[in-house]
Structures are given as structure tokens and as C-alpha cells.
Symmetry: C2
Subunit: 286 residues, 2 copies
DNA sequence: ATAATAGTGTCTATCAGACACTATCTT
DNA sequence: AAGATAGTGTCTGATAGACACTATTAT
């Protein structure tokens, strides 16, 4: 056993290796059939001293920050998202769609750990990443130490069609892992509905699946008829429908900004925690 | 932003909150159609001083330990498993089946954090849990600070049919989360084969699914014929079979310890990273 | 009317579950 | 021979994908 971990030393905080543990929020949103991610542009710190070492200046990065004492990782990332981007997430876990997607701890992942230009003690930063689903069209407000905060198309990030091409640190990898997690979970559980408002159309749900599958599989679009049939067939453990149509009245319909028939609004049966029919990208028939 | 996180303080390790970060290994093994988990019984520390505060004495616990400096969480858990239970896992990531299943960080989860009887500074311990699949029948050897290390039936753990009834700390929750993770992943990816040796029978694979589904769904057994048909149909991206039969010769068959016909051995196509046919528990027909 | 999307229904290939039947080996 | 498991095949109901067709609304 590690000599440094003897019980008698446990009260000496310097006798043990203690990393800095940060949270990273992969905040997703679907708008106009496109998947967006909330990013901040890294700028100078709040002190304004430009001589300070601050890696990845002007790079886009995932919002997040260090966990404080007597705080959980979930609480930390929610707090940081409020501070950095003005995103208000309910702390109530039942309402907030927040999922752990990866823990990153290789010693070389944080520039601070190995950058030779700075003086001082060596540091190792680990990160726990969360995928977070937002429904409301929240307008991000950048904090003092980030120049900008906004939703950017995930396709632009993956195609390196952003300033500096790549994200800061290992955030590209974190994003990819979060995407994989979401696609897996959306196949098995009613996660896609978390992207939608209280009242939603089947087209809203279809847009969610389509925006993910366009990125991770070679899907151009989902056939409307089959998708509707499948979603309407979904039931929960007790055999109750997963989504329920509102009364077929004009006020319960929503028109698209373009044209076409307005779609009927549905509400969700929130008791269901799995899908009775798996949702995977369409397999073309031979 | 948190005042304590000002850049100018970054070189002072005490100016920031730094938790202890531990790893927990949820090491699974399937034997005789039963799922087992590797546990250690908590005993006195290596110093032998019984007056030291050591919570959950005589409780069964997940093996694992603190991450050291310049070490990743994956490296740490593999090292600790070697130290605590004599389990040899290849560091080579491509060969070792190791999957992150949860990060646990609520401030009250570690008894050390709030136990009033001990003096000294307050501490917060976070844990990153890994599900680890073992194939070889390894004989655990307990280290000095654990009284015992052995594989225990998961069903016994879930049914509180173990000494002290529950596991130490929040390890019951960690086990449950790891089980859920495994069932999800085994539905979508060829994870079950990692439990098997290089050469295996279809019955071996069936035993893996059966041992999990018995615990998480109300499955008594999997119908043999349908399972074989489905596994044999599986193909990879290029259309190559997922498993390949060895030449039908007596030396390529393996008899069960009981009786019945010896089963043909198969080898696995290791290129496949997903299943062409989803593996979910059988739905009884109405 | 036209265009565009919503929504329903039908046809068919494929898949899943039930189960019969044969093969092979142990006792 | 009896018993047990391996392995294959067949039948049938359910599901998935292709697609036709109607409905509804904006322009």
C-alpha cells in the first residue's frame, strides 16, 4: 500500500496527493433542426492582469469550474453555469437533465500541469463532465473572465469551423464522449423529450433525434410517417401511452415559421423512464 | 466567480479546495451462470494500531484507493486492484475492459468528512467508479490492511445476504449504478464477450447475459435456441460475422462439468464495436 | 391552386419468440 | 437406454422501413 496513505497522516492535507477537480458542462440545445452547444470564449481573468499565465486565450471552451468544499460536482457545474453564462438550472435533480458523461484525469491533460513557463508547484486537474439538456431559449451572458458565451452549432465544432479550429484543453474529446453518451441513452430512454417544452409537437421530438443522428451516423433525415407511428406506439411499464395528444382544437396546435399544417401539441407521461421501442437510426432496406 | 480561484493564487495549493479523489473498482466475473463481484473485507490498517479511526470495520467494500500524483484514475484503480487483491490487469487499454460508471462527490458520502470523533481538518473524498470485467479465474489475495478479498455473488450483495448486510460507504449505490451501466452497454455493444476466454462456447455468452438479466429484470433463463440464432446472426460494419466457429473437431469442443453434448468453441471478431442486433431481455409473447 | 408539413394507413421484409426436432456426449 | 445440453429449423406474430394518401394551413 502507498506509504503516503498511512492513516496517521490523514489529517495533514499536504501529506496526500490532492488534485484540483473541475466540472465541465456540455450544455445541449436543439433549435431549427440543429444541435447547439454552449461555449465560452476564454479571455483574461477578472483581475485584468494580462501578464498572468492563462492558457488557450481566445479559444472556445466548455463552461465549468472548480468544485468547492462541501459541494457536489452537480451543484458545482450548475453554479458555474449560472456564473459564467447566466444559465438557470433548477437544483432539483428531478427536473434538471444532467448526466455524467466522463471523468478525465490523465496528468498531461491540463496545460497548467506541464507548462514550463510558469513557476510554482506542479498541479494536476481532473474534470468530471456533464451533459446538460436545456429547453428554454436562454440568452447567455458572459462573465468577467470570459469574452463571450454563446450557443454554437455542434457541427461547426466537429468540423473545426470555429475560431482557433479546436476547443481548449481536451474539450473536443469531452464533447465527442458526451455525444456518444446521448445517442446511446436516447435509444433506450425518453431523454429526447427533455429538449422539448412542456407542450411539444412530434416534429419537435423528431428534430432532436435528427440533430444527433446527423452528427453521429450518416443520416440525412428521418422519415416522418414511420417516426410518428413509432413514437405514438411508445408506452410505459403500465401500458399507458408515453405522450398524450391535447384536444384537437386550433389553440392546441402550433404553426411552423415557414408553412405547412400546424402540428398538434402533446404532453409527456413523466412516469416512464425507458422506451418500450428502441430508437435507433433507420436501417436502409436492401 | 469564486474569489478563491483568482489566478494569482493558483500556485498556492492551500488557497483552493482540493478533495481527495479515490477510485472504486466494480470487478465482475461470471461463473456457473452467476454474476460475482470482487470485494474486500475492511480491517485494521497496516500499522496495526487499533485505536486509529477506521470506518466500516468488518464491512465488505469495493477495492480501490486514492489516485496518486502524475497518475490517471484508470492507472490508479488498476494499481490498487493489484495491491489489494492481486488482480493483474493489463495496463494496455485495448485489452482491459474498464469502463467509468459513476462519479460520486456529495460531501456527506465519506464518513471521514463528518465524523465528529476524529480531530483534524475536514476532508471531502470523491470517487470515480469503474466497472471491470475479468475472464481469468484469478484467486484474490488480501493485502495487509484488508482481512479478506474474494468474489461474492452479486445476488447475495443485493439481497443483503452478507456480513453487516450492506457494503461500506455508498458502495451499494455504486454497484447498482455499475449494474445498470453494464446492462445498457451489453444491449448495444459486444461487452459480454469480454467475460469469456479467447475460445468460448455460445453457452458461455448466454450465461453472461443470463447472470445480469436475472438481477436486473425478472428473467429466469434465456431460451437456448433463439439465443444461439441471434448471436450467430451478429455481424460487424463490414458484414463479417461477430463470432466464428472453430473447425468441427472433437478437440475444438468443450464438455460441461455435468453432462450433455460438448459445445463447439468460437473465436471473436475483435473489430466489431457494436452489435448489429440489440440484446435485450426476452419479451414474453401475449 | 400550390407548396409544405402533419398525420394515418397499408404493404412487405425482417426480426423475435415459441417450440419441435436432431445431434452428441455422459452416466 | 436415459438424461442433458448443443445446435438447427420452422412457424407465427410483431416490428421496421417504404411509401401512398389524406388533412390542414400559409402563401
Amino acid at each position: 500500500m502507498n506509504k503516503n496513505l498511512k492513516t496517521k497522516n490523514l489529517n495533514n492535507p499536504l501529506a496526500y496527493f490532492r488534485p484540483s477537480v473541475a466540472t465541465d458542462g456540455v450544455v445541449f440545445k436543439v433549435q431549427n433542426n440543429e444541435l447547439y452547444i454552449l461555449l465560452i470564449k476564454r479571455g483574461i481573468s477578472e483581475t485584468g492582469k494580462t501578464k498572468e499565465f492563462r492558457p488557450y486565450m481566445d479559444y472556445w471552451a466548455l463552461p465549468g469550474g472548480f468544485i468547492r468544499g462541501k459541494e457536489s460536482a452537480e451543484e458545482a457545474v450548475i453554479r458555474e453555469l449560472k456564473e459564467e453564462t447566466n444559465l438557470n438550472l433548477k437544483i432539483n435533480k428531478n427536473k434538471t437533465s444532467i448526466y455524467q458523461t466522463g471523468f478525465y484525469s490523465t496528468p498531461d491533460r491540463d496545460t497548467w500541469s506541464f507548462d514550463g513557463t510558469k513557476k510554482g508547484t506542479w498541479r494536476q486537474t481532473m474534470s468530471i463532465a456533464f451533459a446538460i439538456i436545456t429547453q428554454t431559449s436562454h440568452t447567455p451572458i458572459a462573465s468577467t473572465d470570459s469574452k463571450e458565451a454563446k450557443y454554437i452549432k455542434v457541427s461547426d465544432v466537429l468540423n473545426k469551423n470555429i475560431e482557433k479550429k479546436v476547443l481548449a484543453f481536451d474539450h473536443n474529446k469531452i464533447l465527442e464522449d458526451a455525444l456518444d453518451y446521448m445517442v446511446d441513452q436516447m435509444a433506450l430512454r425518453p431523454l429526447a423529450f427533455d429538449f422539448c417544452d412542456e407542450k411539444f409537437t412530434i416534429g419537435d421530438v423528431r428534430a432532436v433525434y435528427e440533430s444527433f443522428w446527423k452528427l453521429t451516423h450518416n443520416i440525412e433525415s428521418i422519415e416522418l410517417g414511420n417516426f410518428q407511428n413509432k413514437i405514438l406506439k411508445q408506452v410505459d411499464q403500465k401500458g399507458n401511452r408515453l405522450i398524450n395528444p391535447m384536444p384537437n382544437k386550433p389553440e392546441n396546435k402550433r404553426a411552423q415559421e415557414g408553412r405547412g399544417a400546424p402540428a398538434l401539441l402533446y404532453t409527456r407521461n413523466k412516469e416512464a423512464d425507458y422506451l418500450s421501442y428502441i430508437m435507433l437510426p433507420t436501417q436502409k432496406r436492401l
